[in-house]
């Protein structure tokens, strides 16, 4: 099985009784993800679609074996919830919460490094190993998920949650399946950036090609290009960079918190340039991803 998710993935949902979490817990269960427990302080004893709710992660972990957590709590509590999960022995934390202050995120990531825990997110809609496991709301309810995500050999990494589904749906409609699909999160600082995940994908036998959905802002794409170039990365990568109009409006923030351009810094033209120099195929229209991926798959 591709990366991060496997047959032994056992999940707790933190903030399980919230509006979003109730919906995606059902979608996860329907998809076959083993959601073993939920946590909402003060709601112990309730059940959400049969999943028992506890007051603390520690109690949930004592009663159920879990290795993965999806965090869906309000922004002010997200750091604490993530610390709680990592302290209780969770190995993979997928943080769904958006609008977490940057200082909190930096601490979450630093603690994760100390603990050897992987964080995906914040501001991540989750990830899917098509036909097997999914975390978070990515892809939506089961029937929708099955239409958009199909099993195959292309890994899709996206800074946008919505465009993860759109991109996979586009690929699936054209008969191209995915080995893994991950929304890395739209924040300026995320636990698993493109360049953190590429090494894992390089070792993954299921993945033959990689698609990156990129956005303006941050140095993530630049660093990814540097990594690909310096390590002579062995798998072919197709990238689409949305939001070229943002280049013309410096200092203005669009979409995700990270999407802001200052002069050349963060501009899509800069990203396209350095990515092309690193040998990444950068397409100009989103729908051109299909042809570019087909070409790579036919060559290999």
């Amino acid at each position: 099985m591709a990366i991060l998710l496997s047959d032994s993935t056992r999940v707790i949902v933190q903030g399980i009784t919230g509006r979003e979490a109730v919906t995606f817990t059902k979608a996860m269960l329907d998809y076959g993800t083993r959601v073993v427990a939920g946590v909402t302080p003060g709601k112990e004893g309730h059940r959400v679609y049969g999943v028992p709710v506890y007051n603390c992660v520690e109690t949930a972990m004592r009663n159920h074996e879990a290795n993965t957590s999806v965090v869906s709590v309000p922004p002010g509590f997200a750091k604490d919830a993530t610390f709680e999960a990592m302290d209780a022995g969770i190995e993979l934390v997928n943080v769904f919460t958006e609008r977490i202050p940057r200082g909190d995120v930096a601490q979450m990531i630093e603690f994760a490094r100390q603990k050897g825990v992987r964080i995906v997110g914040p501001n991540s809609l989750g990830m899917i190993s098509p036909g097997r496991v999914k975390l978070g709301p990515a892809g939506g309810p089961l029937s929708e998920c099955n239409r958009a995500f199909t099993r195959g050999s292309v890994a899709v990494l996206s800074r946008s949650g919505g465009m993860l589904t759109e991109t996979c749906s586009l690929l699936s409609q054209n008969g191209i399946g995915q080995s893994i699909a991950i929304n890395i999160g739209g924040d300026p600082i995320v636990g698993s950036a493109f360049f953190d995940l590429l090494p894992l994908l390089e070792d993954d036998p299921e993945t033959k090609a990689i698609v990156l959905f990129c956005e303006p802002g941050t140095f993530q794409e630049e660093e990814t290009a540097r990594f690909v170039k310096e390590t002579s990365y062995s798998k072919r990568i197709v990238a689409f960079i949305a939001g070229s109009f943002v280049d013309t409006m410096p200092g203005m923030r669009f979409g995700h918190a990270a999407v802001i351009v200052h002069g050349e810094s963060g501009a899509t033209r800069t990203k396209a340039k350095v990515m092309r120099e690193a040998g990444i195929v950068v397409v100009d229209f989103h729908s051109e991803i299909v042809a570019a991926v087909k070409k790579i798959l036919n060559q290999s």
Partner: protein
Amino acid sequence: MRLYEFESKKILSSYSIPVPKGRVVTSSQEARIFAQEIGGPIALKAQVLATGRGKMGGVRFAESPQEAEQVAQEMLKAEIQGYAVKSLLVEERLDIERELYVGCTYDDVKKTPLIICSSLGGVDINEVSRKHPEKIHKSSISSFMGLQPYKAWELVQNLDLPAKLPWAAQAILLKLWGFFSQFDAILAEINPLVLTSRGELAALDAHIEIEDDALFRQKERLGRFQIEEREDKARPPTPFEIEAAQIDKADYRGVAGRVIQFDGNLGLLIGAGGGSLTTFDAILRYGGKPANYCEVGGNAPVSKICKLAKLVLSKPGVEGIAVITNVYSNSRVDFVARGLIKAMVELGMDLKSYPVLFRSAGAFEEEGYAILRKYGIRYYDRSVSMDEAAGLAVEMIKKGS
């Protein structure tokens, strides 16, 4: 949220970082009176959030109180990058020997706080890092440990400061970090930090940006400096944008806050984040003229979508609306349909004749399509790509239906 220079200095000063003697004035008379009190050359600095105001006449000097009054009068009538100059910071003019740079921010590659200093100050630090990378000294630090004195000491060694001043610079750097972490800042820079002819360091200018997403817990602290939360864009927000921001703020659920006004005729409600970027690019590429940028995602509640749709639909000059979203996961097609229809009904619009281009798919699409069918609104599903939908919307406006 970026702070005005005078606000930044008020805070720095409370951390006992030396700043020039100064006062905020809103009239030329006040400027003259303060210049008299100073009794020497002064600087007048426009309090606007524009970057690079120095090059746009935003910083001027005066030798006498009379000249200060004259200059202030001119400046208070001016506009810089669309911002009316409403107040000036009048300061004693320091005799400067050297300009340095110190700052704190976050490194999105290393994912840590980053302390930066340079012996080249007074210019844009990004420019220095391009032209003289050897003059920039950076250190990633632990967000748990914070900036420790030894690290600050190491960094200031690069500033080539005479005699006892490295100790003073170390203290300033530590205080700057203290402020940065306590206020949830994402940028705090003193640029330039000047060395005066009297052999003292002072913060001549400062840029501070507080994390928008941390304002919920910084209100009280900022309030102590009479700093209130405000909309912050590269230009002053329009009334349309202010209204949209209020709609967003009233309900924390859903991403729908970033609304930006344009002057076209095509109203937009577009999928949030990457979806909005993709759609907006495509609409421009097909020659469309957006009336606005407005995201709908993050599973926004019906009430919020409804309010935003009403805002866009009633914007003067809007001749039709395009609702184009990516294939939804956590947001819902039916909620968008409910919000749009509720808005049109509440505005008393004719649902069957008003130009609407609706392309959405994914979560709860069947529910959404059923609602649209009931109210007679045409829609496109995922078999029409976002690019194609953008093209159709542009065409619809050209044809007028």
